[in-house]
């Protein structure tokens, strides 16, 4: 992708990494702060980049469609291209300052590695979701609006609704409900995944605690990880299905 923005994004993470390490002076703390930023930011950037790229390269796509290439190849190429370049920005941008700080010498290496893996998965999830929105919406402005709404919903509103539901039904056992509700939000899911690994009970929150009680740390880890993979696979499958039937 010939995009200035992926460099901007890369430098943003680079600076963020350095600043966090400088201020915190402690790897574990920096990882936690980073997690909170990544959980909100990567989905947002993935969403915006995905929609923007799709609409911007529409002409280009039409040109390619008349050439002897399979449709799925064109769109999967675009999808993987953008998700990969965003993930590279993330991994390199954060990796370099942490490497310089000596993350390999410390015990935080696994936590940090997991953080990058989850961030990468969030990139792939949200680019796939935004591609889905873009191919189903002809109107650029509408598509952009829906995509931002989706992000807002999953990143902010979902938690709010969740809390309200918990308050309203506090007289009932809510373990199963909250467990299932968490699975349907990739952002919550990745947060729990990381917190399970970090083993910081104070930050787990209600859903995290339920999660751990229900699954135990290891099983919880596997369940949330495979759910994240499903969150990538299902949108990608739908994308391929819609593409096959779409008119240009």
């Amino acid at each position: 992708m010939r995009s200035r923005w992926s460099y901007v994004y890369f430098f943003f993470y680079l600076i963020l990494g350095f600043v966090l390490l400088f201020l915190n002076n402690d790897l574990d703390n920096a990882v936690i702060t980073l997690m909170n930023i990544i959980m909100v930011l990567t989905p947002l950037i993935g969403t915006i980049f995905g929609v923007m790229y799709y609409y911007n390269s529409k002409e280009f796509t039409e040109l390619l469609l008349a050439l002897p290439i399979k449709r799925n190849t064109i769109f999967m190429g675009q999808y993987i291209g953008i998700a990969l370049s965003l993930s590279l920005s993330l991994v390199l941008g954060l990796g370099i300052p942490f490497l310089l700080y000596g993350v390999f010498m410390s015990s935080a290496i696994f936590n940090f590695g997991l953080l990058l893996v989850v961030g990468t998965m969030l990139n792939f999830i949200f680019v796939a979701l935004s591609f889905n929105i873009a191919i189903s919406t002809e109107n650029k402005i509408k598509g952009f609006g829906y995509a931002i709404l989706m992000w807002l919903f999953l990143a902010v509103i979902y938690d709010g609704l969740f809390l309200i539901a918990l308050l309203l039904f506090k007289d009932y056992p809510l373990d199963k409900f909250s467990l299932i509700a968490t699975l349907f939000n990739p952002i919550d899911l990745s947060r729990i995944l990381i917190l399970l690994k970090l083993d910081i009970s104070a930050l787990l929150g209600y859903t995290g605690a339920v999660f751990r009680k229900f699954f135990g740390t290891n099983l919880g880890f596997i369940v949330s990880f495979s759910m994240l993979i499903l969150w990538i696979v299902i949108p990608v499958l739908r994308m391929n299905y819609v593409i096959r039937k779409k008119d240009f």
Partner: protein, 235 residues
């Protein structure tokens, strides 16, 4: 031989193609005519696989092509509106298309023919409509295929480029290639086409040579003949 067999396509409530049957032989110049919105471009896009018809089948040289993609290497397509990515230069675009198609390309002579040597390193976003159309033509004609599909090839071209285009088409025809084109320019049809199809409301209204059309409408002039065809419809 291109065969359209009972092709139907609707966009929402709009029935663009209605059980259309059409047979096109693979030599000479074949022009598809019709008023705006009569389904010319949709028909061509069906052939290219860009639009999926609701029903019917299409075959090229007696091979079914719907849902396939390899056959697109055997044809050259000129889109109606030249939408190119604005951040590429002409040169980069040509190189990229050459990269994608597993076929030898001869673009040098064409670039000279249309006088684009000086625009090669300009960004496509900064080119005028006519120049973009020239780039479009180069991308189409630089490959050697048996079938050329040209959607409104004359749009935006200056008279000299138009003459060059006609020469190019005649040259390909002389090599035994088939050319399928849509246009609104009657004089272009009059000079170039061997056979014409008149499309109206997603159906074929007339198919035959220019002579046939003139005879059928008792007109010595093609333009009036077509106007008469249309007038019958509008009454």
């Amino acid at each position: 031989m291109i065969e359209f067999n009972k092709i139907s396509k609707r966009f929402g409530n709009l029935q663009v193609l209605n059980e259309l049957d059409l047979c096109i032989s693979m030599d000479g110049i074949f022009a598809i005519l019709g008023p705006n919105g009569s389904g010319k471009t949709t028909l061509i896009k069906c052939l290219l696989g860009m639009v999926q018809p609701n029903s019917g089948s299409i075959s090229l040289n007696s091979k079914a092509i719907l849902g396939k993609w390899e056959y697109r290497n055997e044809l050259n397509y000129l889109p109606q509106i030249a939408n190119f990515p604005g951040n590429l230069t002409v040169f980069e675009l040509i190189e990229m298309v050459k990269n994608i198609r597993p076929k030898r390309a001869e673009e040098k002579a064409l670039i000279e023919l249309f006088g684009l040597q000086n625009s090669l390193h300009k960004k496509l976003g900064n080119l005028s409509g006519g120049t973009k159309q020239k780039v479009n033509l180069i991308l189409t004609f630089m490959f050697d295929s048996n079938l050329f599909i040209l959607d409104e090839p004359t749009t935006g071209l200056d008279p000299i480029a138009l003459i060059h285009l006609k020469e190019l088409i005649k040259l390909e025809k002389a090599k035994g290639k088939a050319i399928l084109l849509t246009t609104h320019s009657i004089s272009f049809v009059n000079q170039m086409a061997d056979e014409i199809v008149f499309l109206l409301d997603g159906k074929i209204y007339f198919k035959g040579t220019i002579m046939d059309l003139k005879q059928q409408t008792n007109n010595s002039d093609l333009e009036n003949g077509i106007a008469e065809l249309l007038a019958k419809h509008y009454v």
